[in-house]
């Protein structure tokens, strides 16, 4: 297991470095000047701005400077937010995205797994068909549809929760968390059902039943662990997407999370903030994938053996 973790960590560092390199050069190749404003800035000021930020230097020198900044984890000031450094911007936004992402994950698991298990147990019945139809609708409806619907229904019409904003995080997390939870919960439900169906057809389940165990005990104690393997495989990228913040969710619910900074950095050509956001997203995806692989290996030891064989 130790070798497995070390090997995956080294791979992750190479991948992260490659992502940053590609992002940097793509940003520099993109048209548009980050400092240009609606009122045309006189050329002499624009030239000084470029010089101040080192954008007048050869691209390779700019690249090595940026990478050096990353090694020191000092990403410098953002072009767009002149009062804050990129480190500060990420430090302010990440906890919000993390909280919403965790809420979304909990909702997704709470909604998705019971529905998936129930569908598998009641397979090919009315309950199964209706629950899976609901899950399919959940997958088909994007968050920018579910979000405003929940915001208007539960926020404005029923007045149960604030429709949007981040003034009172104690309650503001609920609707965005639920929106994400419904979307990902639908995936989890379908994956759980598939996993459970496969597990329930295994010999050891038949043995358990033949020993006279109750169906609830068979499902919860024996089948569930194996049935969750596909869910755990999906959790890695799902958690990264959930925690990394979503521009759509943050716009719909007016949240001060990371997703908005990411999109604004792209449109404003804010290279330092863009690289910082990409690094955060990239590191999150790699980390959660690694954790998901470790969890999978624990849930299903065959995975670890196959990984070890592949490495050998």
């Amino acid at each position: 297991m130790g070798r497995f973790i070390i090997s995956r960590t080294l791979q992750a560092i190479v991948v992260l470095f490659s992502i940053l390199t590609i992002t940097f050069f793509l940003t520099r190749m993109a048209p548009g000047n980050p400092f240009q404003e609606d009122k045309a800035i006189p050329p002499h000021i624009l030239a000084k701005m470029d010089a101040y930020w080192g954008r007048d230097q050869p691209v390779m020198i700019q690249y090595f400077k940026q990478m050096g900044n990353f090694l020191r984890w000092d990403l410098g000031p953002s072009f767009g937010n002149k009062g804050f450094t990129v480190n500060e911007v990420i430090a302010m936004a990440f906890p919000v995205s993390f909280m919403i992402g965790c809420a979304g994950l909990v909702f997704a698991l709470v909604i998705g797994i019971p529905i998936g298990v129930l569908s598998a147990v009641k397979r090919n019945t009315g309950t199964d068909y209706s629950l899976m139809s609901l899950a399919l609708i959940g997958i088909c409806l994007p968050t920018f549809v579910i979000g405003p619907l929940l915001s208007i229904l539960l926020g404005i019409k029923l007045n149960w929760f604030p429709a949007l904003g981040w003034e009172n995080p104690k309650v503001n997390w609920i609707l965005p968390g639920l929106t994400l939870g419904l979307f990902y919960g639908a995936y989890f439900a379908r994956l759980t059902r598939a996993g459970m169906l496969e597990t329930l057809s295994q010999d050891y389940i038949r043995t358990a039943r033949s020993k006279g165990l109750s169906e609830t005990r068979v499902v919860l104690m024996h089948a569930l662990k194996g049935g969750l393997v596909p869910v755990v495989g999906f959790i890695g990228p799902a958690v990264a997407a959930l925690i990394g913040g979503s521009f759509v969710m943050e716009t719909v619910f007016q949240l001060p999370g990371l997703g908005t900074h990411f999109i604004r950095a792209v449109t404003n050509r804010d290279t330092p903030l863009l690289l910082g956001s990409v690094f955060t997203f990239g590191a999150l995806i790699l980390l959660t994938n690694l954790l998901s692989d470790i969890l999978l290996a624990w849930l299903d030891p065959r995975q670890q053996k196959s990984s070890s064989r592949a490495e050998a």
């Binding site: 009122k39 000021i45 009062g83 915001s151 539960l154 404005i156 149960w160 429709a163 003034e167 943050e250």
Partner: protein, 549 residues
């Protein structure tokens, strides 16, 4: 089929949470009214809280609470001037030298007195080339201000601003400017607290502390301003909160206990926030909801005149757009009334000139009107009867639904009225669009301008030869001369006449097609008092109050 109750657990959980949360039914705006806290939607996140580093309307809205200029905005009529740091001011006979007399009790939020030297320091700072201020050109009114900003003059004592003593500031201008008190209300003319700038600008690299951009002085606790409010908190993408400044000279006038500025870039989210009772005021609103509010909730809807113009500009360096007859034909074939009635929907006024009318001050000449017959005739005279032979032209706009809808409508009008079928629509994202525009790589482009001060020259000056906003390749020595003559006009009436003459030239040669004059479409809570319609929408917050009705 047995029904399981498991699937109802999340719904029951949610309902319980909802019931717990909604026990307290007082809405956020009602709570805020009770506590005199004004909640304002404010467009996008501010770039900075430093008056020398910003240029957007949203940023100015915040800065107006934190700083005060020599002269300040009048609460009901922004063509009027209210005393700010200066309690009175006067000019010499030809309006080239202005003297501002400071009030005794003008103080910074830390209690220091506001002095003319602070203003001289601020003007030096914004004009310093190393400050990289995007809007320093607003101070080109000062004698030698442009030269100092461009670095061709390094001795600031030659720039036209001088502290005569502890209570008197003198500004010497490049040319006679009768409306100069209007100009100094703009955020770029705000002072900064020199000791704070110097303290936070200290560095080991030998750089001038005054022009250091990324210092901590803008943070809550460090920020020093001289406005009616002072900075309480700033959380990126969440809010900027200001509270009354006890050292403000007119602190007794301030009624609010707090103002919270929320950056809500999406007009749909902002409208939902308003409906949910989370803000008292929206920065803008979705055009497709205006009609609904008009019919169902008119007391919340405000359609105020706004000193801005939406227009298309031609690149005269690209034939055949150098042909004035073609430009005029394209301009006369547009039915502006249809655009404002069917596309923009916000009560905008069809624009027949560049500068909007300013009540009691300026009436622009009425030249560009919808006349399809004349347009067809001009098209034929230009050598393109029924649009035949006209090469393909690209119409550029930045990516936004309304701009696209306007462009499509005009594309259709040109097709129907003139037979022009080869107008391509090109949308670009904001930064790319700006570069394309400023580098003049376009053929026809949409543009808009909101006035910096209440005077027609805030629009007409853009089309002087060489002005950085001209960007059309159009140049008219006669137009330039008339603008110079207007500054020297002996009376206000004579000045207006000369400006009208200048605008006539612009509208005859048409390097631009004016389309509509803006309105400000917002939702305003009825509890907001003293939030009167203003042409520049620059509300002085010290008069604003919240009273439950």
């Amino acid at each position: 089929m047995r029904c399981s109750y498991t699937s109802f657990v999340p719904i029951i959980f949610l309902a319980l949470c909802g019931c717990l949360v909604s026990c307290n039914k007082e809405s956020r705006v009602d709570w805020a009214i009770r506590n005199k806290i004004l909640l304002l939607g404010n467009g996008s996140e501010p770039k900075a809280l430093d008056p020398h580093l910003v240029s957007s309307v949203g940023d100015s809205n915040i800065l107006r609470s934190l700083f005060e200029g020599l002269v300040t905005y009048h609460p009901t009529d922004d063509s009027q001037n209210a005393p700010g740091v200066a309690e009175r001011w006067e000019s010499n006979e030809d309006y080239t030298v202005w003297t501002f007399y400071f009030r005794d009790n003008a103080k910074w939020s830390n209690g220091d007195p506001v002095t003319p030297r602070d203003f001289v320091y601020a003007y030096r700072r914004i004009l310093s080339p190393d400050m990289l201020s995007p809007y320093a050109s607003m101070l080109y009114f000062l004698k030698n201000g442009k030269q100092f900003n461009e670095g061709t003059l390094t001795d600031f004592s030659q720039v036209g601003v001088k502290a005569l003593d502890d209570r008197t500031l003198e500004c010497t201008l490049e040319q006679p400017t009768a409306f100069f008190p209007q100009v100094v209300k703009h955020t770029t003319w705000y002072p900064v607290h020199p000791a704070t700038i110097e303290a936070f600008g200290k560095n080991d690299d030998g750089l001038d502390p005054m022009t250091m951009q990324f210092t901590l002085w803008q943070r809550p606790g460090n920020h020093v301003g001289n406005g009616a409010f002072k900075l309480k908190s700033w959380v990126i993408n969440k809010s900027v909160v200001v509270e009354p400044n006890p050292n403000y000279w007119d602190a007794d006038q301030v009624k609010l206990k707090e103002i919270r500025f929320y950056p809500i870039p999406s007009e749909f989210s902002e409208e939902r926030a308003y409906r949910d009772g989370q803000v008292h005021y929206t920065y803008t609103m979705p055009p497709n909801m205006i009609d609904w509010y008009r019919k169902n909730d008119p007391k919340h809807l405000r359609l105020d005149p706004y000193l801005g113009v939406y227009y298309y500009k031609f690149n005269l360096n690209k034939p055949p757009l150098d042909n004035p007859k073609l430009r005029k034909a394209l301009a006369l074939a547009i039915d502006r009334q249809k655009i404002v009635e069917n596309v923009t929907l916000g009560g905008q006024e069809p624009a027949y000139a560049l500068s909007p009318p300013i009540k009691g001050l300026y009436q622009p000449p009425k030249i560009v009107e919808y006349d399809p017959d004349k347009a067809r005739q001009l098209m034929a005279e230009a050598g393109y009867p029924n649009g035949e032979g006209l090469p393909r032209l690209e119409l550029l706009f930045n990516t936004q639904d309304t701009h696209r809808a306007i462009a499509e409508t005009i594309q259709d009008m040109w097709k129907k009225e003139l037979g022009v079928t080869n107008i391509g629509l090109l949308n670009q994202e904001w930064k790319v669009y700006q570069s394309t525009l400023h580098e003049m790589k376009y053929e026809i482009a949409r543009h808009a301008w909101i006035g910096d001060y209440v005077d027609p020259t805030t629009f007409l000056d853009m089309f002087r030869t060489g002005d950085s906003n001209n960007e059309t390749g159009w140049s008219s020595p006669e137009y330039d001369q008339l603008l110079k003559d207007a500054a020297l006009a002996p009376t206000a009436e004579a000045r207006v006449q000369i400006l009208q003459e200048a605008e006539k030239i612009l509208l005859t040669e048409l390097p631009i097609i004016p389309l509509y004059w803006y309105t400000r479409t917002t939702l305003v809570h009825p509890a907001m008092q003293h939030w009167e319609p203003l042409l520049l929408d620059n509300h002085p917050y010290k008069y604003v109050d919240l009273i439950a009705n």
